[in-house]
């Protein structure tokens, strides 16, 4: 049984189509991340899953049952919003227990779940506070707690970390990962941050312009991007793309090489050029090299001692050169030399 199944989901606002034929299956217990550029329809898709938005056509099935026409509260979901969306006039405990009271759970059970969630998220001392008296990170934990207490079959997160500062973001990311391990529930998580996607996901769904580009494990997207969009979107710095004769010789329309897979080669380099700019991060050095094949970004581990304007040779193992056809689709690793 699939925890979530999307069948041919299409969404139109007036005449603009923002989602086109989305098909997706999510296994029970999976952590699935929707990732894609801003405006690609991630939130819209999540809101359709939640029942907050109605699809123009297609079906949503949650835990094997059709969810079409079922109101959000009856779908067995818990949702965490980007802006936290805490009820400003209720204290933390009431915020978290509202849905349970609506479901008519007995008092004792509500208390028990509240205590368990508060324990898990370290919210104990904050239970009587109003949202206005909480920090951003605390608010986010309350928002997560509000989803947890319902013990939902499916957790939905819409960019839950984007309003937090960088340090807190890393901490909360780890907390969410731990939470997933502890609860073992199915989670669907929307972000446009590829680090979040790579670190959290069992399965990443890359969206662009309302269509699914690729679905797979993070490492598969990295090693075998299905098309140019995924190749360019996953990985930082961005993959280098090379067209023209170099590509034709390899039997492709475009070649893709990740910056970390280019190596400095003194003898018989595949490309030679001059260093135009260098960024020294300590752990890595990014070199921007002007070559006959265009400008290439190179990621060298550790500190590389190169001068601006210095001539340099570059190579890459064939196994790590990605080939794409004229429609941008993957052709498999380079075979020719």
């Amino acid at each position: 049984m699939n925890a979530l199944e999307l069948i041919g989901i299409t969404k139109r606002f007036g005449s603009t189509e923002v989602l086109t034929g989305i098909d997706l299956c999510v296994d029970e217990g999976d952590f699935v991340v929707f990732v894609g550029p801003s405006g690609c329809g991630k939130s819209t898709l999540l809101r359709i899953v939640a029942g907050l938005e109605e699809q123009t056509s297609g079906n949503v099935r949650i835990a094997g049952a059709s969810a079409d026409g079922v109101p959000p509260a009856k779908r067995g979901i818990g949702m965490v919003f980007q802006t936290y969306a805490l009820y400003p006039h209720l204290n933390v405990a009431d915020n978290m227990s509202l849905a349970l009271k609506r479901e008519g759970l007995p008092r004792a059970e509500i208390e028990r779940r509240l205590a368990a969630a508060a324990e898990m998220l370290e919210l104990g001392p904050l239970l009587k506070r109003k949202p206005a008296a909480l920090s951003g990170g605390q608010r986010q934990r309350v928002a997560i707690g509000r989803a947890i207490v319902r013990a939902p079959k499916l957790f939905l997160f819409d960019e839950p970390l984007s309003n937090l500062d960088a340090a807190l973001r890393v901490n909360t990311r780890i907390e969410i990962a731990n939470l997933h391990r502890a609860l073992g529930s199915t989670m669907v998580y929307v972000t446009h941050d590829q680090i979040e996607a790579m670190t959290l996901a069992d399965k990443i769904v890359v969206l662009n312009a309302g269509t699914i580009q690729q679905v797979g494990r993070p490492i598969d997207l990295y090693t075998m991007p299905a098309n140019l969009f995924v190749a360019g979107f996953i990985g930082s710095p961005k993959m280098n793309f090379i067209g023209g004769d170099d590509a034709l010789r390899a039997g492709a329309h475009t070649l893709g090489i990740r910056p970390e897979h280019l190596t400095l080669a003194a003898n018989a380099p595949r490309w030679s050029g001059t260093v135009r700019h260098a960024e020294h991060l300590g752990s890595d050095t990014f070199l921007y090299v002007r070559t006959s094949a265009g400008e290439l970004t190179v990621r060298v581990a550790g500190e590389a001692h190169v001068a601006i304007g210095q001539p340099i040779g570059l190579s890459a193992p064939d196994a790590l050169v990605h080939r794409f056809d004229d429609r941008g689709l993957r052709l498999g690793q380079s075979s020719a030399g």
Partner: protein, 308 residues
């Protein structure tokens, strides 16, 4: 994959429930009577039913020897009253500019005090000023005397030449709080960064007000002006209270509101006439419509709005 047809739409009766009470009351008590009034202006009463009369009522209003004089006089007075009343805007905006000065002490006290007259009814304001300006009572003359202007005193409300102007100023006195408040709210919503930037650029003091703040609050000023214009047609109460339904002395303070009242209900020797009343109301409606259109198409288009 199977494509399914669009599902049955979610139940949306709640939208109707939310909108119905407001739309129904508003339509029944405001819009329908308004159109009924406009319609009645095209009829005349014969016996006890209405007879189609075309635009003849307007002909009477504009050209009839007895009635047209009253109409043109009231219209003229109304325009004059509006011009005086517009003074409230520069005064109110000026006060708001002072109140919005950063680090001004006692700002809340001034705001509260200056807004006070706005809350009082025309009955209180009208009679109050009538007493204060009364030659029988010594308040106005003594006050003028205190600043050495005793010679200026005259029974302002009793003289044809000054009665309407005086009413205009009373109205300004009463309503200056409205533009003051609205302009104040607009002024303090200008982001501090913009003001800081102006300070750094050396645009300070009065120049800062005219170069930076005023342009940013033009939309508010436009809105205040149109509100003044529309509110001007409600000045009936003030005239009725201080000068009576006849706009004493000698119709010098008669405005469209009092004219409408007399025409519709009759007063003393004059008999009431719902159709002529409706005709006056229709004229007022057309004037307001023209004013609002001028505002919407000429003024508001030229004003740029800024998002902060």
């Amino acid at each position: 994959m199977t494509r399914v047809p669009p599902r049955t739409r979610r139940n949306r009766t709640h939208i109707v429930v939310f909108l119905a009470p407001a739309v129904l009351i508003y339509t029944a008590v405001m819009i329908v009577p308004l159109f009924e009034t406009l319609r009645l202006s095209l009829f005349t009463t014969s016996g006890n039913h209405f007879v189609w009369n075309g635009v003849a009522n307007f002909g009477v209003l504009f050209f009839d020897e007895r009635q047209s004089l009253g109409f043109w006089n009231a219209l003229r007075n109304n325009v004059y009253f509006f011009v005086i009343q517009m003074l409230q805007n520069p005064i109110g905006i000026g006060l708001a500019a002072l109140l919005a000065l950063p680090r001004l002490r006692a700002g809340a006290f001034y705001r509260t005090a200056i807004f006070l007259p706005t809350l009082l009814s025309f009955v209180i304001v009208g009679f109050g000023w009538k007493l204060i300006l009364s030659p029988l009572w010594g308040v106005a003359p003594s006050l003028l005397g205190a600043v050495g202007l005793k010679g200026l005193f005259a029974p302002y409300l009793g003289r044809e030449s000054s009665a309407l102007t005086t009413l205009g100023f009373i109205s300004v006195w009463q309503y200056v709080g409205v533009p003051m408040m609205l302009a104040y709210a607009a002024l303090i919503s200008i982001p501090d960064e913009i003001i800081d930037a102006a300070e750094v650029d050396g645009v300070v003091g009065i120049a800062q007000f005219f170069r930076v703040k005023l342009p940013l609050i033009w939309p508010t000023i436009g809105m205040i002006s149109i509100l003044t214009f529309v509110g001007n047609f409600n000045a009936f109460d003030l005239v009725y209270v201080t000068q009576g339904a006849l706009g004493a002395p000698n119709y010098s303070t008669d405005i469209l509101g009092t004219l409408l009242y007399r025409t519709f209900f009759g007063y003393q020797l004059q008999l009431g006439d719902p159709n002529m009343g409706a005709t006056v109301a229709t004229m007022m409606f057309l004037i307001i419509l023209a004013g609002v259109c001028v505002y919407l198409f000429a003024v508001q288009r030229k004003i740029s709005r800024y998002q902060f």
